[in-house]
Amino acid sequence: MTTADRRYHHPVSFTWWARKPSYLLFVLRELSSVFVAWFVVYLLLLVAAVSSGNESYQGFLEWSSHPLMIALNVIAFAFVLLHAVTWFGLAPKAIVLRLGSWRVPPNLILAAHYGAWLVISVAVAWVILR
């Protein structure tokens, strides 16, 4: 019945993610994972430095205040924030909480995440800066 396939298939361009701002944001969000991984590396370097004595710790502090290092970490921080914000925004979509017959409204779930984020951040800062 079908004559030869004469349908037109639009090729997907290699830069499809640049076509719309929303796609770009999506790709940036996905790339945030690279900076998450970078943080793990950075953290392990810190731990290794601290555990091998004050001298190497000071070395680490010096290395970390190199302008390039700071620039990298500022970028990483921006990405990690992007990750956190988009992540919390997504949570109420996956989670449907029910207390009795009451369905916890999505906004409340969102607010709870931000609340927890604040508490945890303050606690961590307190432990470190105490």
Binding site: M1, T2, T3
Partner: protein, 584 residues
């Protein structure tokens, strides 16, 4: 080699899908196909808003089948067949419950039982609803349920151009596949026509683009009679300009109709007196024919509002409050916002009568069988009739379920009992039709003829002018002449598109050809009925005449190509003709 099926159903709307499921359940061995010019879930049933009527739960002692039947009979101005109505009210309930078991998200009462709302012309609350997207949910439930019957074959986006008749029996169809332009003969032992109505014959209608009356034209061309074609329903509340429907449910939930002085004018037309809470069968809950007629009188008295798209009155929902509107009429709010740029929560909605539904259609018996052997019909395209001279709102959805199922069962029985016949002559006819279609495609191109759209527009305007809410002999004769002229001009009309692939202009041409036939049937039947009844109001014959016209009109095509109108008495079982009383 041509395709073959035991039963071919034309149309994948509510009626067609219900029929297909009925056949699959009645006899799983049968080979059923649905041929539809749009994907089933695009069918016009999807647009129905308000609800579906049936006596509700067992525990609702205050309603009864008899009352539903009486409302339907009096609503029809006694032109329906009462045996059909009696069967209908009982099965409507079963069908709506069946739909519930298939997952239809009917709106509920707090305790989990199905909720019902009031509707025009109904004495009791018995209209089941799924917010105000009843048809949408009903159609998708049927479509999705039909998917579970994997044996039902579908020809999606195939357009049927002809019924094949041999030896006085329908033996199949010819259809065009839109995507490829391929023409195919599909042989069948029985055909069920479920192609819906023909609102597009008129200029201003709630009906979708696909509602071009194809099935009526196909049956008429094949020699089957069309019944009660003069009865065209105007719905009183369409949005000006687009004709988009504001459902009757808006009035059932308590909306008012106001003229330009803010006055609930229906009280002047023997429809009762205004009350704050809606009263059944009264005022805004009167039947559609009477409400649309009242609008015309208001307009003549100069009490309507002049709107850029013609005269309107106002539908007032403001007093219902946001909460009720959002829970019960969300789609109304959505439509008003998109298409009229107003919010019914705080603003008046301009509305005017709009062509909505065909009471008439292919003549069938109580099982959906037409006089032509092997041909069945159900849904809006058919006329059983339970609607008579005026359909009550929310009776159509249950009708297409009840009679879709009945037609399916009847066709299944028919094909199981009757042996198939030789296909040679049928295929030959199919080849003739294929050649005709190729000629149409090639022959009309570049002939310098008229545009289809112009002929279509003139036909629609002629129908509105000649066969609108009020008609008389002179207006009808004018319309008849105009349609005859347009038919001649159509023969010479041109098309731009000669492509085989998805040629929507070819389809529009085939549709227009059918619409001209249907238009002719409407005006010819209307001219012959010299009385006023329900939606058929003749200013030259203002009264109802039971002596002469308590009968269905049957219009058929004579072998010479002329049309002929006959009458068939209505069936009366328990409710002798009486006065239609509303609001008293």
């Amino acid at each position: 080699m041509a395709a073959w099926h035991n039963v071919v159903i034309i149309g994948g709307g509510g009626a067609g899908l219900r029929a297909a499921i009925a056949i699959a359940e009645a006899n799983p061995k049968l080979n059923v196909a649905i041929v539809s010019k749009v994907y089933p879930m695009r069918s016009h049933t999807v647009s129905a808003e308000g609800g579906a009527a049936a006596v509700a739960g067992r525990d609702d002692a205050d309603d009864s089948f008899d009352e539903h039947a009486y409302d339907t009979v009096s609503g029809s101005d006694w032109l329906c067949d009462q045996d059909a109505v009696e069967a209908f009210v009982v099965e409507a309930r079963r069908e709506l419950l069946q739909l519930e078991h298939w997952g239809c998200p009917w709106s509920r009462r707090p305790d989990g039982r199905i909720a019902v709302r009031a509707f025009g012309g109904m004495k009791k609350k018995r209209t089941w609803f799924a917010a105000d997207k009843t048809g949408f949910h009903l159609l998708h439930t049927l479509f999705q349920t039909a998917l579970s019957y994997s044996d039902i074959v579908r020809y999606d986006e195939w357009f049927v151009t002809k019924l094949l008749v041999h030896d006085g029996r329908v033996r199949g169809v010819v259809a065009v596949e839109l995507a490829t332009g391929a023409t195919e003969t599909i042989v069948a032992d029985a055909v069920i026509v479920c192609t819906g109505g023909c609102g597009r014959v008129f200029p201003f209608t709630t009906n979708a683009n696909i509602k071009t009356g194809d099935g009526m034209a196909l049956a008429y061309q094949a020699g089957a009679p069309l019944k009660d074609m003069e009865f065209v329903q105007y719905h009183p509340t369409g949005l000006p300009f687009t004709g988009i429907l504001i459902t009757e449910a808006a009035r059932a939930e308590g909306g008012w109709l106001l003229n330009k002085d803010g006055y609930r004018y229906l009280q002047d037309y023997d429809l009762g007196s205004p009350t704050d809470q809606p009263t059944m069968r009264s005022m805004e809950l009167g039947p559609r024919d009477r409400l649309s007629q009242a609008f015309v009188h208001e307009m003549e008295k100069g009490r309507t509002i002049e709107h850029e798209a013609g005269h309107v009155v106002h539908l007032d929902l403001r007093h219902l409050g946001k909460e009720l509107i959002d829970s019960r009429l969300p789609f109304v709010r959505e439509l008003c916002a998109s298409y009229q740029n107003i919010d019914p929560v705080s603003e008046l909605v301009p509305v005017r009568p709009v062509v909505h539904y065909m009471m008439g259609g292919i003549h069938t018996d109580i099982n959906g069988a037409t006089p032509l052997t092997g041909l069945y019909a159900a849904g809006e395209v058919a006329c059983v009739s339970i609607n008579g001279a005026n359909r009550l709102g929310s009776n159509s959805l249950p009708e297409l379920l009840v009679f879709g199922a009945r037609a399916g069962k009847a066709a299944a029985e028919f094909v199981s009992d009757v042996p198939g016949a030789a296909t040679g002559p049928v295929l030959a006819q199919g080849r003739d039709e294929e050649r005709r279609l190729h000629r149409e495609l090639a022959g009309r191109h570049g002939s310098g003829g008229e545009r289809l759209a112009d002929i279509r527009t003139e036909m629609q305007d002629a129908m509105e002018a000649g066969a609108g809410i009020y008609r008389d002999e002179a207006s009808l004769i004018k319309a008849i002449d105009k349609v005859a002229e347009l038919k001649e001009r159509f023969a010479r009309a041109a098309i731009d598109d000669t492509s085989r692939t998805f040629n929507t202009e070819l389809i529009a041409m085939l549709e227009l050809s059918g619409m001209l036939d249907v238009a002719e049937c409407i005006v010819a039947s209307a001219l012959r009925r010299e009385e006023s009844r329900g939606a058929h109001q003749r200013t030259d014959f203002p009264g109802r005449n039971d002596e002469k016209y308590l009968a269905h009109s049957l219009i058929r095509r004579t072998p010479a190509g002329e049309s002929r109108v006959d009458y068939l008495p209505v069936t009366i079982t328990r409710w002798p003709p009486g006065e239609r009383v509303y609001g008293r």
